[in-house]
Amino acid sequence: MSAASESAVRVGLVYPELLGTYGDRGNAVVLVQRLRWRGHAAELVEVTAGAPIPDSLDVYLFGGGEDDPQVMASAGMRSSRAAIDRGRAGGAAVLAVCAGFQLIGHSYEAADGTMIDGLGLVDAVTRAGPNRLIGELVVEPDPPLPVLTGFENHGGRTTLGPSERPLGRVLARNGRGGDTEGLVGERLIGTYMHGPVLPRNPALADHILSWVVGDLSPLDSTTEEQLRATQLHAGSARGVRKWWQERVSARG
């Protein structure tokens, strides 16, 4: 193996056939390209369903999936638990979206009572809710991250344990707010935001990459910012306006 490929950042797309329902490949593409454009060697590693998940990945991406594929993915992820732990101990980051978010928690309880075991990487449980939450989502995370935009489409409701921290406060969810979204842990993000989430939020992509490679040089993101501006405005103008008014009134 050459020195260059030894040092290449390995972005792992886990089970794309099972956990790729909502363009989840996009998150992997964005991480790889944002490294390459800065001169880092990076490689997209697809872990096909049925294959063991290796311990040598630098980023583990668990995406969204439908019910049956989620059961299959759960089995594969749990049988690779030791390798994932070794990867995490070695400094790897995790981005888990939707079904993937549910699967890094302890369990998912389906509407018919079926229990799907998760990895238990984080202290969270998910139960099927009374309806699907579908629509644009705007989330305010802790600094230095900017407001995040995404599209949610899920039936599960995830409850975090007392020691876990949400990714951010929901500013707009179909016009409603007041809730929290996702989870942020040590080199780990869980979220219900599709879009996919990283093309819409390049700062979040760089945040994850900085966990793996340290400080990053600036990168022009004009196109992404135009998309963000459109979606923050169109999808959730009301929620953002409310957030802005609160900000202004808080400043007095």
Binding site: E17, T21, Y22, G26, A49, G50, D67, F151, L227
Partner: protein
């Protein structure tokens, strides 16, 4: 006709009036509103209108409008009168006004929305289903692919006499059509990304070059003497060349399905059926051309979901230098009829267009632009698809449009 009740006749008249209003006010084609009025006034209108018609229903995620058009042209060779919903209005509201135009007993070839199909088989007294493919489409509206396959299968199980002509290469379709009296056609494996797991037992399917199988429960691609071989349909040993005016591999698959249905169910000579298919050049605006201000023409293609986009892009991607003459406008909206979540853009191999002139267009032009940036495809951003087409160079300009973008262009120029 005498078997129509007064109520149904009034409903049809009311429906026609509403349809006329819709057309003259420029709100739409008129078929859907007309049907809503008919259904509201006479809920049993479908039964009455379908009486005396031999009804074939065509459904699929992609290609149902084109397959319907090809099948209608092929069965017209029987000499029987044929009615068909040529505009793509495929809900019960779109079907009723079409049936109301039938003047005599004959054949009705009807495109039906995937979700609506199970509900209209009984009222229409359908004798044949033509089932093309099932893939992910508008997840925020339709839900999961497996659920649609299960709906279809229930219809097949509860209608043992129903005849079906179906694609043997699509696991969801095979799962749905297996309980019926099915004539299979092997259309070749195309998009497989939405069929990772077995519809029967949820194990991982295995895919070889020419078939799929479930290693766990034995579910797999059914054997059939009918298959698409390049641009030739092999129908139980008979080779039927398909010389289509319509572009792309996906239309060969649509035609193979239509010719098989016309031949095996309606007794049309397969070469006659294939000949009828060659006469179709545009289908409800698909593949129509639009004049650009500088005298060039742009061709308009509809792509609704990752499977459809993937087929179209493979067709339009031409390696440079020849590719520099083939321009592509990618026009995407994310309204209800498009699916409100355009994340599927990341499942489409836009990388194929590297080196060709490309424009990001539509209400979601910036979603497209970000996708193209990460695919390293040079592009311009211009929300208006026709302005975008005019800005791109070359003699072969193609506008590939999502559903509502396509409809807007069709309304303006169709």
């Amino acid at each position: 006709m005498s078997r129509r009740s007064l109520r149904t006749s009034i409903a049809i008249a009311g429906g026609r009036a509403a349809g006329w209003l819709s057309r003259v006010t420029g709100r739409g084609e008129g078929a859907t509103i007309s049907g809503r009025v008919i259904n509201a006034i006479a809920p049993d209108a479908l039964e009455q209108l379908a009486a005396g018609q031999r009804v074939a229903l065509v459904s699929a995620t992609n290609g149902k409008t084109t397959t319907t058009r090809l099948l209608a042209a092929a069965v017209a060779r029987t000499g029987e009168p044929v009615v068909s919903n040529a505009t793509g209005a495929n809900l019960t509201s779109g079907i009723a006004p079409i049936l109301a135009t039938a003047r005599a007993p004959g054949l009705a070839v009807l495109e039906v929305d995937e979700r609506v199909l199970p509900r209209v088989v009984d009222p229409l007294g359908a004798e044949l289903l033509v089932l093309g493919n099932l893939s992910r489409d508008q997840l925020d509206r339709y839900g999961e692919v497996h659920a649609v396959g299960d709906l279809w299968r229930h219809t097949a199980e509860t209608h043992p006499d129903l005849r079906v002509v179906a694609n043997a290469s699509d696991p969801h379709v095979v799962w749905a059509a297996t309980p019926a009296k099915t004539t299979w056609v092997d259309l070749g494996l195309g998009w497989r990304n939405d069929a990772a797991t077995c519809p029967n037992c949820a194990a991982l399917l295995t895919w070889s070059a020419d078939r799929f199988d479930c290693p766990s429960c034995g579910f797999g691609q059914p054997a059939t003497p009918n298959r698409l071989d390049g641009d030739t349909l092999v129908l139980d040993g008979t080779r039927v060349p398909l010389r289509l005016a319509l572009p792309g591999r996906w239309n060969l698959a649509n035609a193979a399905l239509a010719v098989t249905a016309a031949t095996t169910h309606f007794g049309v000579d397969p070469h006659d059926a294939a000949d009828a298919a060659t006469t179709i050049t545009t289908v409800a605006g698909r593949y129509m051309t639009v004049a650009l201000p500088d005298g060039r023409h742009a061709r308009v293609l509809l792509a609704k979901n990752p499977a459809g986009w993937s087929e179209v892009l493979h067709h339009l991607s031409v390696p440079p230098p020849a590719g520099r003459n083939c321009s592509v406008v990618i026009a995407v909206n994310a309204r209800v009829a498009d699916g409100k979540d355009p994340s599927w853009l990341w499942d489409v191999p836009y990388e194929l267009l590297r080196g060709q002139p490309v424009a990001a267009a539509g209400e979601r032009a910036y979603d497209v632009a970000v996708r193209l940036r990460y695919a390293e495809v040079d592009h311009i951003v211009e929300p208006d698809p026709l302005a975008a087409a005019a800005e791109l160079p070359g003699d072969d300009v193609n506008i590939v449009a999502s559903y509502t973008q396509f409809s807007a262009i069709y309304r303006r120029f169709g």
